[in-house]
């Protein structure tokens, strides 16, 4: 197994996921299996292939610099879990 439990935990932290200890082994092996599958791509010869970022042959999609109406504030805040005075309200950001 290439992916360690520590790797899995690191990915979980970066993704803001809480993984119960009892399920740690399961997720670690799933992540490992996934990466092993992707690893198959390495066997394809790509020496003469340019890196591709986009699947569609589209480029230079622009809009003019013209103001359009924004959302009503009530609509913007409608799904906010917490709000105050027209602001989105969030819990403590930095640890004490």
């Amino acid at each position: 197994m290439k992916v360690s439990k520590k790797d899995m935990e690191n990915v979980a932290v970066l993704s803001r996921l809480s993984i119960p200890e009892a399920e740690a082994a399961q997720y670690t092996s799933q992540l490992d299996a996934f990466l092993a599958y992707v690893e198959n791509l390495k066997s394809v010869p790509t020496d003469s292939v340019k890196p591709t970022t986009y699947a569609l042959p589209v480029q230079n999609v622009f809009r003019e610099d013209v103001v359009k109406p924004s959302l009503e504030r009530e609509a913007a805040l409608a799904n906010a879990p917490l709000r105050e005075d027209g602001y989105f309200k969030v819990p403590r950001i930095l640890e004490e």
Binding site: N10, L14, V58, F88
Partner: protein
């Protein structure tokens, strides 16, 4: 051991577009919180961002004005991190193919020119604004978020660590600000956060080339804070190293009230941005012809303008640098001399009385009560001998208060210089008769004593006598 500082800057500059980078929300400053937001900049599911054409134009122009290579193929990427000022949990930025790379700007510090290399310039979106419930982010149990600024277009201008003092860093940032103002892509109002810098500082023993461990200070939004934070950090790191300690690589926050930097510990310890190409924004492909067209549209830049002022008008390098530091000031100068006013006198007046009055009233050159045309006319009156430089100060003060032309002020207030030989001689004679001591001193060989007599004549003429004539006539009489 002697250490030298190694300093690099990432300057963030908000662009002066009407709308945000990926949506049509307005960018104007000072709107009610969360009224310039839409599904795109709030990062709601299923939305499709579209690049604002003008942002690309501004970015390319900034690249050209700082001697960068413009990448014909450029793309956007997602920079993933969690912070509440970023509703999508990623910032749309540019990673491996920024719009511009490998540039430089030249700065002058203590009479020496130094080239500061630019690593890159890329386009990205600004984040929202946090209002903390406590006095600082650390003692706040909650914070409020205003997403109006989210998605406002930013240029990030990244320098190589080519600066070695606070003064160099300041001069570099001033230069970048001035270039952005000249090409008219940013308002650069630091108090509104239009222009701010992240800076990194490390030390290494003088004469060595290996870089030391660096610390980073984010969101520095004034030149004073920039200099103070660097000076403090150099001092702090020197002490740590001299005590045999080692520098911890970290982000520190500048506390202007206490004049120190403090370690910041965020919940996000591991900075792993996991950049990935932004699939919703197709690449930007620019042809050499387009780039050339943008290059043609660039105005005369600060360096060229400064060279013109020293070369063509004989201004000192210092005066030319001060005047060309801002485009508005440089244009004011050009407007003062357009009708024939002497350029050196113009520079003296602009940097002297005009600057003093503007500073005293907290005004900028754009809202100067004395327009360039009137100042130019006044300087012509000095050159023609209609008024003396001393009287000109009075005329200037009058112009500051009234919209009248200098000619009218001179006439109304009876300030015309006395150039009539007879009239000046009469005063000279009276002054010689009334001041035997300086007269005797002068005639006894102390030629400096004439100064007191000149002063008396000027005083009695209420400053209106032509000073050159006063000197000449006094000397003639005293030598008799």
């Amino acid at each position: 051991m002697n250490y030298e500082a190694v300093i690099g800057l990432e300057i963030h500059s908000e662009l002066k577009t009407n709308t945000k980078i990926f949506c049509g929300c307005a960018t104007s400053f000072g709107a009610e919180q969360n009224t310039h937001v839409c599904p795109v900049c709030l990062g709601l599911p299923g939305v499709l961002p579209v690049v604002n054409k003008r942002v690309v134009e501004f970015a390319i122009k900034a690249g050209l004005a700082t001697n960068c290579t413009i990448n014909n193929y450029s793309k956007f990427d997602r920079k993933n991190y969690y912070y509440p000022d970023l509703p999508k949990n990623f910032q749309t930025s540019q990673y491996d193919l920024p719009i511009a790379e490998h540039g430089y700007v030249d700065i002058e510090v203590d009479g020496k020119t130094k080239r500061i290399r630019l690593t890159r310039i890329h386009m990205e979106e600004d984040a929202g604004k946090l209002v903390h419930s406590g006095t600082t982010i650390k003692d706040s149990a909650t914070s409020n978020v205003d997403y109006n600024r989210t998605g406002v277009p930013l240029l990030e201008i990244v320098s190589e660590p080519d600066m070695s003092s606070a003064a160099e860093a300041r001069t570099y940032m001033e230069k970048v600000k001035s270039i952005l103002e000249y090409i008219d892509v940013s308002n650069c109002r630091m108090e509104q956060g239009n222009l701010r810098a992240d800076l990194n500082v490390s030390l290494r023993p003088v004469g060595t080339t290996e870089l030391g461990t660096r610390t980073e200070m984010k969101n520095i939004n004034s030149f004073k804070a920039l200099e103070d934070a660097i000076s403090y950090e150099i001092e702090r790191q020197t002490e740590v190293l001299e005590d045999g300690g080692h520098i911890v690589q970290e982000t520190r926050t500048w506390d202007p009230a206490r004049g120190i930097t403090l370690s910041m510990r965020s919940k996000e310890e591991a900075h792993d941005y996991r950049y990935m190409p932004e699939p919703d924004l197709p690449p930007i492909v620019t042809t050499p012809e387009q780039i050339e067209r943008y290059r043609q549209e660039l105005p005369e830049l600060p360096d060229a303008r400064q060279a013109r002022l020293t070369g063509q008008y004989g201004l000192s390098a210092y005066d030319a640098a001060v005047i060309t530091a801002s485009r508005q000031l440089a244009e004011y100068f050009d407007a003062v001399i357009v009708d024939g006013a002497d350029p050196k006198l113009a520079a003296n007046w602009i940097m002297g009385d005009l600057a003093k009055n503007l500073n005293a009233e907290g005004k900028t050159i754009e809202d100067s009560p004395v327009e360039a045309k009137r100042l130019g006319a006044m300087i012509l009156l000095i050159s023609k001998g209609t008024i003396s430089s001393k009287i000109a100060k009075k005329v200037f003060e009058e112009m500051w208060k009234s919209p009248d032309d200098p000619e009218k002020i001179v006439k109304d207030k009876g300030l015309v210089q006395i150039t009539d030989t007879k009239a000046i001689e009469a005063i000279v004679d009276a002054v010689i008769a009334a001041n035997p001591k300086p007269v005797a001193d002068y005639q006894g060989g102390n030629k400096k004593a004439i100064g007191a007599l000149v002063g008396q004549v000027m005083k009695q003429s209420k400053g209106k006598a032509n000073p050159a004539m006063v000197n000449q006539l006094l000397a003639a009489r005293l030598e008799q």
